[in-house]
Symmetry: none
Subunit: 258 residues, 2 copies
């Protein structure tokens, strides 16, 4: 791995559970020498991607990350365009709505509109959603290139709850259903007690760049509300896609099942 790769992998050692780490620990976890690790940390901190707690001398992620992330978020057409529509959808459904972006083989949650209700599903920005275990993932697969879908079945399908679909055929069935309806539906595939519907957001090539999902407590959902949510999500997804790609162009790209 390149030096740069090693430096960045140091950043990835910091997690929610362990947001501050000492030098020796960093060296151990990264497999790098202590001297090397420190050199990299110094380089990172010179650009404020890392900072050091003066007292404990432990390291943590730096403020420069906030700055860079904001730069990205401000420019990214996706979030900028999609957020207002996601908010509308959240108000319309009264449930939590989250946006994900496809990145490196999985869906990354990039924006969340929380439901106004007390009993609601909570989702965190930054969360990674597996393609086969979430409504978002199914919706994504349903509009992806066949070979992309195939590629995803190369790896084993891990189960996150007792309800996660792990057989290829079950997943494909859900994918086909989603493709024909224009939205996907999934309950407790990733987290217990959570029901979701999701719709794809299509880029200018007609393939998904991300998804839009409505997540509700399972207890509030029956078939009728699920369908209402699904149709609303599909519509919202279409609107975002349209704004993303430029109105007139999108009209010529049908949302066709695979």
């Amino acid at each position: 791995m390149s030096t740069v790769g090693k430096a960045i992998s140091l950043l990835e050692l910091f997690t929610l559970k362990e947001p501050e780490i000492g030098l020796s620990d960093i060296a151990r976890k990264s497999g790098l020498d202590k001297a090397t690790a420190r050199r990299l940390l110094v380089a990172l901190s010179e650009h404020r991607l890392i900072e050091q707690e003066p007292l404990s001398r432990r390291y943590r992620l730096g403020a420069g990350l906030s700055r860079l992330a904001r730069m990205r978020d401000a420019h990214l057409p996706f979030v900028r365009l999609a957020a207002p529509i996601a908010r509308e959808l959240a108000q319309e459904t009264g449930e939590t709505v989250h946006l994900s972006e496809f990145s490196a083989g999985a869906l990354l949650t990039v924006h969340v509109e929380l439901s106004a209700r007390a009993n609601r599903v909570s989702v965190d920005v930054g969360q990674i959603l597996p393609l086969h275990g979430t409504a978002s993932g199914i919706a994504f697969l349903a509009f992806s290139r066949p070979q992309s879908v195939e590629a995803h079945f190369g790896k084993p399908l891990t189960a996150f709850t007792a309800h996660t679909m792990t057989s290829r055929e079950t997943v494909m069935q859900a994918v086909r259903l989603a493709a024909s309806r224009g939205y996907s539906r999934s309950a407790q595939g990733y987290e217990e007690g959570v029901h979701s519907v999701a719709a794809p957001i299509l880029g200018s090539d007609g393939f998904p760049v991300g998804t839009l999902a409505v997540a509700s407590p399972l207890s509030r959902i029956d078939d009728e509300t699920a369908e209402r949510q699904g149709l609303a999500a599909r519509e919202a997804g279409r609107r975002i896609s349209a704004e993303l790609t430029g109105e007139q162009w999108h009209a010529s790209v049908p949302l066709q099942p695979r």
Copy 2:
């Protein structure tokens, strides 16, 4: 500069004005060779700090940054980040310092550093501060959008003591003064015998997310100490804003030779 430093400086080429850049341009702007620049970009994109627009082949900041920034924000929320600086300010001034966060039309006290002296002002976490009656509120208004300020004058201005400013013009005068000085000053507007100075804490959009105030017994204050406190508060507010948004590599603790 280290290889890592060069790689990170590539990230810093991306700005709001120019959020996507082509390879040759990156090489030119960074002063690196094209081959080198590309190697670094590839290394960065392997960890999703950079991504490449497939069509135009131009590069932009990647999704991994959002994830890392989110991690940092989760671990270092406003209060935790600001508290050490508030403590310094409390030690420097010898007076009680309190932090507020804007929430639902008012300022909510989220953290307090009590003065070490026997005769001191006491403030409770959770206390709500009215915008027109406190130094914090005035500092907040002084840096808010004009229409937000206007909106606040819609409601009547209630008096909390005999000294509370209740006329719109008096308040606006204080607001203008605070805007020009960078800090606000107020005596007995909310509680008898209490003098305060306050400075705003600015978010990434340049508008206040909260305030920082120094509260003293009126008897200890003259114009000179008030100004000293005000300037100290202003500086502390700036530091917190900088750490919050990652703006300017200003006063952060350098991580080098000991």
